[in-house]
Structures are given as structure tokens and as C-alpha cells.
Amino acid sequence: MNKKSEGKRNGFSLGELLSGEQASLVIALAVLCIIATILTPVFLTSTNIMNVLRQTSLIAIAGIGMVQIILMGEIDLSVGSTQALVGVFSVWVLNATGSIPLAFVAGLALGALVGLMNGLLVTKAKINSLIATLGTMAIIRGVAFVSTGAVSIQAKIVEFETLGTGYIGPFPIPVVMTLILFAIFYYILHHTAFGRYIYAIGGNVNAARLSGLPVERLKIIVYVMGSAFAAISAMVLAARMSSGQPNAGLGFELQVVAAVILGGISLTGGVGTLTGAFIGMLILGVLNNALILLNVSSFYHEIARGAVIILAVYLDGTRRRNLQKKLIKATE
């Protein structure tokens, strides 16, 4: 590109494009909220809004991990199964030891182990992450069923519920947890070397290797974190239900992936922001909530979720093509 045209196009940058995109996401969210309010006045009550946030926090916590995995150009479909297995396991540890912290740590450790397995399959065994985590998704779900005999485990310590149902001031504990984790990982993604490496690997893994970035190690770390986040969401869910359920989190992975992609994290990696992903999660949360408020049968929820994920991937493709077009035009 010649110097003149560079000067002329100075005003255009990826950052602006993304923030423009974020603006349209916020508008979509607002429109959705307005429609929900018109259809059912209950939507705009503070109780319900807290409810939406609490429900969304499950997707959001697991979503923070998923954002990093997808940014690196990989995917993790095992988060739903992990939610089940970790939920069952942590409640079992809780009942066996009577210690909430111990149950929490054990759940987290199991999550990390799952992540390590995923990470090793993707990096060392070099299995495509879609297939590898599809496999572990089935295995982990199976283990959850086998180990419990497909029966849920009731938590024997009532205080455990606080994690899922308690409040700090007016805010539900899961929401507060989500906000803290969001703040931490926003900083990590955008202000630390680790975050930059994730974007670089997702953007061009060859160049990352040639520049001496420890690609494999970083991928494993991100997978471990991803499953650890799924484990946290698992324990929040188990606490809310006061039990560990082997069939928890069925289809959860699709919701998380849909929310993240809807929020502008590109499936090919390297593009998107955590803020955008959070707006995507809220859109999905509001949609879920509205369907419940409107008494729509849960079978239709499945249909709606399926449609959302297809829409999200379609939008991702269109965005990428548009960006590509703009780049081609700018460099020609």
C-alpha cells in the first residue's frame, strides 16, 4: 500500500471495528430486553434481573475459560460433562469430609486434571480439539454416570448452598464471583504477556512457534484453566441444587460456545474481546430467562439454543469476511 492511502485510512483500525461491533451487540441486548419487558412485565423486576445474572453467571464463569481456548484457535466441548462430574465429585468429598473448602479444592483439582487431559490430547497427541474434547465429553459424562449409578448425591451440609444461593449485599454470590474473575482475566488478557501470547497463537500459530513462544505449554495451561473454570461453575450449580447430579450440564458446552462466539470471539482464533464475550453471554442469559418467563416448553429452549449457535457462527463468518474485504481493499 502506498503512503498516501495509509494516511487517508488512518482513522480506521481493528479496535474501532470491534468497538463498533460491540455497540451492535449492546443494541441487540437492549432490544431483547425491551421485547422481553413488553411481553412480560415481570422481566424488569429487580428479583428477576438478579435471577438473570445468577443464571448467566454459570455460563460466564465457564465462558472465561472458553474465551481463552477459542482465542487460541481451539475448542473445548467437555465443559458440560465436566460440570456434571465435578459437581458429583465435590459433593461426595463434601459428604465424606464435612469440609466445604476441601470439597472446593478437590473439585477444582479434578477440573484441572480434566483440562490437563484435554490439553495433552490436543498438543502431544495432536488430535483436533473438536474431536478430542468430543471424546472426553462422552468419557467424562460416562464416568459421572458410572460412579454414581446415575443417581444424584444430596449434599449433607446445608451451608454448602450459600455458594449458589447466598448474597453479598444485594448481589448473588455467583454474580460477585463472576465479576471478580472477569476483572482479573480482563487484565490478564489485555495487559500481560500471557494474554498477548494467547492472541498471537490464535492469530498465527506458525509465526508463534518460529518466534519461540512455548505454544504447547501455553495451550495446556489454557486448557487446564478452562476446565478449572468449568469446575467452579459446576460447584456453583451443585451448591444451588444442593446436590451433585450426573446429568447436570447437558448441552451446557453448546450454550457456552454459542455465547462466546456471539460475543465476537472468532472461531478461527486470535480475534475478539472478553467484554464482547460477556455481552454475548448476557444476550443468551436474557433469552433463556425470557423463554422461561413466557412459559415456553423447555423442548423449545433446545431449538432456540440450536438456532442461536448457528446464528452466532454465521455472524462470525460474515464478520471475518467483511474484515478480510476491508483488509484486502486497504492493502490493494
Binding site: M1, N2, K3, K4, S5, E6, G7, K8, R9, N10, F12, S13, L14, G15, Y187, H191, T192, A193, R196, Y197, Y199, A200, G202, G203, N204, N206, A207, A208, R209, L210, S211, G212, L213, P214, G270, V271, L327, K329, A330, T331, E332
Partner: protein, 511 residues
């Protein structure tokens, strides 16, 4: 699937009608992209049986003009073919008018056979739809013989070398009765021998009356092959002249708009101790490589396509598995297969394929430059924006990277500036001792080339050891202190640059 690409009926394969009737005539062509006026009313014409070189720096508008001729872009202006206004709105229109483009990256389907590629989209079939394979193979063999390629028409394109693939593309053009073949940087991946073959083929095509548009950066080639030269600069026509009326200097000054007294600024080296000592390095692709590089020295590697130069860069960085041998970098033994350690000990690699292996297209210039030095730009918990901005801005100034801001996406810079950004990525890092540069000026315009050479010379003077792989002889002879020649994955010869000539190097390439 049968005949979606009809072959033109007017054959031009009869006796050479080298005349003055232009096959293609473009008048006052304008092409605008949002914010960019890529072509500003340029004229261009191509006669039968002539080679017309199209030159200019990156961004001059050459690629845009090719795409206008090929029907990829719409445009404003007049497009005449054989004196008549042609409606070229899509690539198929151009093909039907006998205009073929051989793009730099080649457009063949890797997993199909040569014959299937040549008859792509127009397989010959019986009425019932059975494919007439024997006829297709026969015809393909004829076309291949025509371009001097001796391979089985059933061979998969994936198994062919780049030069053979190019010949298949030319054969395909001929099978479409092309009266015009547009070649975009056709020699960028060819060795001298293959280039000569291509030139001989071009001569034969000329004799048949085929007009050739030859887009290239390489001055010597243009002088060797072109009848006329047209130069573009910033989307404007600088001029069209017969090659005979031009000298290297006058052509360069047409291209850059200023006299370039010397492209190669190499000054006398100040050599220090050995920085790199490689002994018996062996991977799957290279065998028993031993050589040394001293502080402040520029060492070049010559060789044909597939001689193992790029593979050697990968072996040095530890990207390919080392099976034998040792690498000492400034007195420290490099552990095998550990590119992270190689980098930390001060070895850097500027790869051959910028787009595929070099740039992070979604990141800004700033983030591209600072990526591997973030640990040095850290303050407490995160990256210090101040330190990062200072270091990056300093690099942009030092290497005179032309970008409107450090926040610009790297994908929007020209090839030369992208190359500088990748150099900057390594130079910003503290303690760099050895820089491996694979094809330092591939796909870079003349002006930026000279700048890259100047940077390399300056680095060497500051004590950096440099290894460069190159298939451009003038560059090797002009920049290096010593030159190793590679063939078949091993080193076959070593020259002092002062004692080497193009001929001596070439002859040991082939051995």
C-alpha cells in the same frame, strides 16, 4: 460439469504474426477502493508476440491492473480486445477472450492430477456423462510436451515442484487457446536453471504470437526477457519504453522516482570471534551441516529450490527434530528441539514466507514488534505501556517503518514494511547474537530492498552475526562475506564472497 468454460474459436496458434495490432488495449483505467485511488487513469497495451514488462514498487497498482485485465475487478475506463470494446465483468469473460493469468501463488488443485487440473471444469465426456479419460490424458500429454514438461498427466499436482506447477499452469493457458498470458512474479520461486527454461518457453510462446504481460521486481530478468517496459508509480503511469532504450539506472529511477546510486550498501566487515559453531547438524531434511559464523559477519547460503536452505533455518532454530550434531551459540550449547531456548540465548529467525510464518495478521504493528520482548517490558504485574510504546516507537524510527501509527494492523502495511516489523521484533529483544534471515527481500520492492540491505549492513557493523538464505545471486554476492552452497540437504561448497562469481556458485549448485 461438461463445458462450462468454452474454448475460444479464434486460434492464435498459427504462424507468428508479430505486428503492431494490440491484443489488449486499456485506456484511462480508473480503479477506486474506499479511500484508495489505486489506478489513476492509466493506459496500457499489449501486442501480439511481445513480452511487455509491468514494473513498479509495491502499491504502484500492478496487481490491481492485472485483476482488471483478468475480470476480477470492475473499473472505469476503456478495455479493448483486438480493437473492439470488450465486456469483461468476471474472470470467465477474460478466459473466454483468451486471457490467462498465472498468479504468483498458482491456482491449481493440489490433490487432483495434472490432467484434471488442465481440464478443470470442462472434462470431456460422452453424451451419457462418462469421462473420456484416455483422450484427456493424450491431450494433456501434448500440452505438457508443448511446455517441455516430461511428467505423467496422471501425476498429482501436489507432487510437482513449484516450477513444474508453473509449467502446468502455462500448459493450461495454452489448452484454453490463450492469446494473452499474464505472469505475476513468475520467477519468485525458481532457481536460475528453471528461470532460463521459463525464458526459453516465453520465447517460443512469443514466436507463436502469444502476448505476455510480465510482472516482476527483478531488473535483470526484465532486461533479459521484455520487449517493452511499463512503469507505474502510486497508481499512475510513469511511462512505457522499449527495453533497448533503458538502462538499469534509468529504469530504477523511473520506478522509485529518484536515482539509487547503489542498491547494495555493503561495507567492509569488522569480524569478531565465532558466534555460531554448527557441527554435523542433521535432521530429516538436512544432513551433516557444519559451519561457523563470526561476530559481525554476514554468511549466505545459496542453492536451488529444495536444496534445504529453509530446512536448515528450521534445524538451527530447533523447529525440526535434530537427530545428530551440535549447535554452539556464543559458547553455549543449544539443547535440541527447543526453539524457546534458542530464542532466549539470542538466536532469531526471519522466515521466508512472511504471511504464513512471519506476521500476526490480527495484531497491530506495535503488538507484532513487542511480542517476544514483553518480559523485558514488564512492570510489576503487567506490560508497561510506557516502556512498550517507547521501545516500539524507537524501533519504528530506527528501521524507518512506514506506518501511520503503531496501532495500525500489520496486514495493512506493504511487504517491505512488514519485513521491517519482523526484523524489529527480533532487534527489540535484548542480547540478540545471531539473526537468520530467509530470503530477506522476497516480494519486496526496490526501494525497500535497499533499506533492508542497509539495515543488515548496519546490524553486522554493530556486531550481529547474520545468516541469510537467498536465491538471488546479486544479493548473495553483494551482501555476504562468505557463501555456502547447499544441494540435497547438505553443504557442497564454500566461497569467500570476494572470490565467488555468479557462475562458480551456480555450477556448484547443480553438482
Amino acid at each position: 460439469m461438461d463445458t462450462s468454460i468454452p474454448t475460444p474459436t479464434t486460434s492464435v496458434r498459427n504462424p507468428a504474426t508479430v505486428g503492431d495490432a494490440p491484443v489488449i488495449e486499456l485506456k484511462k483505467i480508473h480503479k477506486k477502493f474506499p479511500g484508495v485511488h489505486a489506478l489513476k487513469g492509466v493506459d496500457f497495451d499489449l501486442r501480439r508476440g511481445e513480452v511487455h514488462a509491468l514494473m513498479g514498487e509495491n502499491g504502484a497498482g500492478k496487481s490491481t491492473l492485472i485483476k482488471v485485465m483478468a475480470g476480477v475487478y470492475d473499473f472505469d475506463g476503456e478495455y479493448l480486445i483486438n480493437g473492439e470494446t470488450a465486456r469483461i465483468n468476471k474472470p470467465l469473460d477474460a478466459i473466454q477472450h483468451g486471457i490467462s493469468v498465472i498468479y504468483q501463488e498458482l491456482n491449481l488443485v493440489q490433490d487432483l492430477s495434472i490432467a484434471e487440473n488442465i481440464f478443470f471444469g470442462r472434462l470431456l465426456t460422452t453424451k451419457t456423462g462418462r469421462v473420456l479419460w484416455s483422450t484427456i490424458y493424450e491431450k494433456t500429454a501434448e500440452y505438457l510436451a508443448d511446455v517441455g514438461l516430461k511428467v505423467d498427466p496422471r501425476e498429482k499436482v501436489r507432487r510437482l515442484s513449484v516450477s513444474s506447477r508453473q509449467l502446468v499452469e502455462i500448459a493450461k493457458s495454452l489448452s484454453l487457446n490463450a492469446q494473452v498470458i499474464i505472469m505475476d512474479e513468475p520467477t519468485s520461486a525458481l532457481c536460475p536453471q528453471e528461470i532460463e527454461n521459463l525464458f526459453r518457453l516465453i520465447e517460443r510462446l512469443k514466436a507463436r504470437g502469444v502476448g505476455i504481460v510480465y510482472v516482476s521486481h527483478k531488473l535483470d530478468e526484465v532486461f533479459a526477457v521484455a520487449d517493452r517496459v511499463t512503469v507505474f508509480r502510486d497508481g499512475e503511469l510513469v511511462g512505457t519504453k522499449p527495453t533497448k532504450a533503458l538502462t538499469t539506472e534509468s529504469l530504477i529511477s523511473m520506478m522509485v522516482g529518484r536515482e539509487l546510486s547503489a542498491l547494495l550498501p555493503k561495507t567492509a566487515p569488522v569480524l569478531g570471534e565465532n558466534v555460531l559453531d554448527v557441527k554435523g547438524l542433521t535432521t530429516e531434511k538436512v544432513t551433516r551441516i557444519s559451519f561457523q559464523v563470526r561476530k559481525g559477519e554476514i554468511v549466505g547460503f545459496a542453492g536451488l529450490m529444495g536444496a534445504g536452505r529453509t530446512e536448515l533455518t528450521r534445524a538451527l532454530m530447533g523447529l525440526d527434530r535434530r537427530t545428530a550434531g551440535s549447535i554452539m551459540l556464543d559458547g553455549t550449547e543449544l539443547p535440541p528441539n527447543d526453539p524457546v531456548k534458542a530464542r532466549d540465548l539470542g538466536m532469531g529467525l526471519v522466515p521466508e514466507d512472511r504471511k504464513l510464518d512471519g506476521i500476526f495478521p490480527d495484531l497491530s504493528v506495535k503488538h507484532n514488534i513487542s511480542l517476544i520482548s514483553l518480559r523485558e517490558l514488564r512492570k510489576r504485574f503487567g506490560i508497561s505501556k510506557t516502556l512498550e510504546n517507547e521501545a516500539v516507537d524507537d524501533m519504528i524510527k530506527r528501521l524507518s517503518i512506514r506506518t501511520p501509527s503503531s496501532k495500525q494492523l500489520i496486514a495493512k502495511l506493504s511487504g517491505g514494511n512488514q519485513q521491517k516489523v519482523i526484523l524489529a521484533r527480533w532487534l527489540i529483544k535484548k542480547g540478540m547474537k545471531l539473526l537468520i534471515i530467509d530470503e530477506p527481500t522476497r516480494g519486496i520492492d526496490v526501494g525497500a530492498k535497499a533499506e533492508i540491505y542497509k539495515i543488515m549492513d548496519k546490524l553486522a557493523h554493530e556486531g550481529m552475526a547474520i545468516v541469510m538464505m537467498s536465491s538471488e545471486m546479486p544479493e548473495l554476492l553483494g551482501m555476504c562475506d562468505r557463501i555456502y552452497v547447499m544441494a540435497g540437504g547438505g553443504i557442497t561448497n564454500e566461497f569467500k564472497a570476494s572470490e565467488a562469481t555468479q557462475e562458480t556458485i551456480l555450477s556448484s549448485c547443480i553438482d
